[in-house]
């Protein structure tokens, strides 16, 4: 277990590198990380969670035809890099009462990669009409 924890920590170090900042996301890796979201989300359709197309610049809790929790409707944020980074780290804590029952992504580099992917994918006219 200790070895596992150490090697994971080491891998994290390798992955982020001393100078890489979380802001430099790799959309390619982000696409793989997005696989963690697809049990509940799709880009173009509302499923268990709301569609992600058009996410950036949209106010939280405002996709038409999706039944949000009261907490998400009240969450006064417009989705951008920083807001997503904050929310995805620990959704249940950031928006108490949200119905997104997901633990979150703790690794800042993974979040940056995911956000880089989301930025492209949620505005891609081929998937999002």
């Amino acid at each position: 277990m200790k070895i596992l924890a150490m090697s994971l920590a080491f891998l994290t170090l390798l992955a982020s590198g001393p100078t890489a900042r979380a802001a430099d996301g790799d959309a390619g890796r982000g696409e793989e990380i997005y696989q963690r979201c697809v049990a509940c989300h799709a880009l173009a359709q509302n499923r268990v969670g709301p569609r992600h197309c058009g996410l950036f610049g949209r106010k939280a809790g405002t996709v038409k035809g999706y039944q949000y929790s009261a907490a998400m409707k009240k969450y006064a944020v417009t989705w951008d890099d920083a807001a997503l980074d904050h929310f995805i780290e620990n959704p249940l804590k950031v928006v108490p009462g949200t119905k997104m029952g997901y633990a979150g992504i703790k690794d800042p580099q993974e979040r940056a990669d995911l956000i880089a992917y989301l930025k492209k994918a949620t505005s891609d006219p081929k998937t999002c009409d």
């Binding site: 696989q35 963690r36 049990a39 359709q45 499923r47 249940l92 029952g101």
Partner: protein
């Protein structure tokens, strides 16, 4: 459904029975020190358990619908079709257990969506259906993986881990059927 299918499920449910006892004993028996402190914080974490289980239930319902679509698509051939039906049966059992657990925690189990708007136009061959199913299985495994350490009740965490194992097997088999490396990594993420 055979007896073989039902028996493990019964023991699964009895696991939840035990949980109910310890949960309802919170104030009375003070059998569990952590839960006995009925504070706002613990009420919030119990709520989180409901939220997590309800989201998982939603994902299971979606998987059931996806396998239904796959089975009815006419795109799946025999050995694969049987597997898909079997996997769907597992998801039904998961959904059953999750709905009961949510109810026992005092929550309201979510109901399936009327329409998941699956990308039917993109499902044109057996491989498309399998890849789609694999992506849902992988996503569900990730969600359960995140849930295990944050579910406050250890019996529920165990149940989530048990479901995770089953769905990881589905994922591997689907990848195998797709001609992909069935177990590409030493760790799930």
């Amino acid at each position: 459904m055979s007896d073989n299918d039902l028996n493990p499920r019964r023991s699964f449910l009895s696991g939840f029975g035990k949980f109910t006892l310890s949960a309802s004993a919170i104030a009375l028996l003070a059998g569990n020190e952590k839960l006995a402190l009925v504070s706002e914080a613990s009420a919030q974490t119990a709520n989180n358990d409901v939220t997590i289980l309800n989201s998982a239930l939603g994902a299971e319902q979606q998987a059931i619908a996806a396998y239904q679509l796959g089975a009815e698509s006419g795109l799946l051939q025999k050995p694969v079709l049987d597997l898909a039906v079997q996997f769907q049966g597992h998801h039904k059992q998961h959904a059953d257990v999750l709905a009961k657990a949510v109810a026992k925690l005092g929550g309201k189990p979510v109901t399936p969506l009327k329409d998941y708007s699956f990308p039917k136009d993109k499902l044109k061959a057996q491989a498309d259906v399998l890849a789609f199913a694999a992506s849902l299985e992988k996503g569900a495994v990730s969600a359960y993986l995140g849930a295990v350490p944050i579910l406050t009740d250890r019996e529920l965490a165990k149940a989530a881990a048990s479901i995770l194992g089953d769905e990881a097997m589905h994922w591997a088999i689907l990848r195998q059927a797709l001609g992909q490396n069935p177990v590409p990594d030493a760790f799930m993420s």
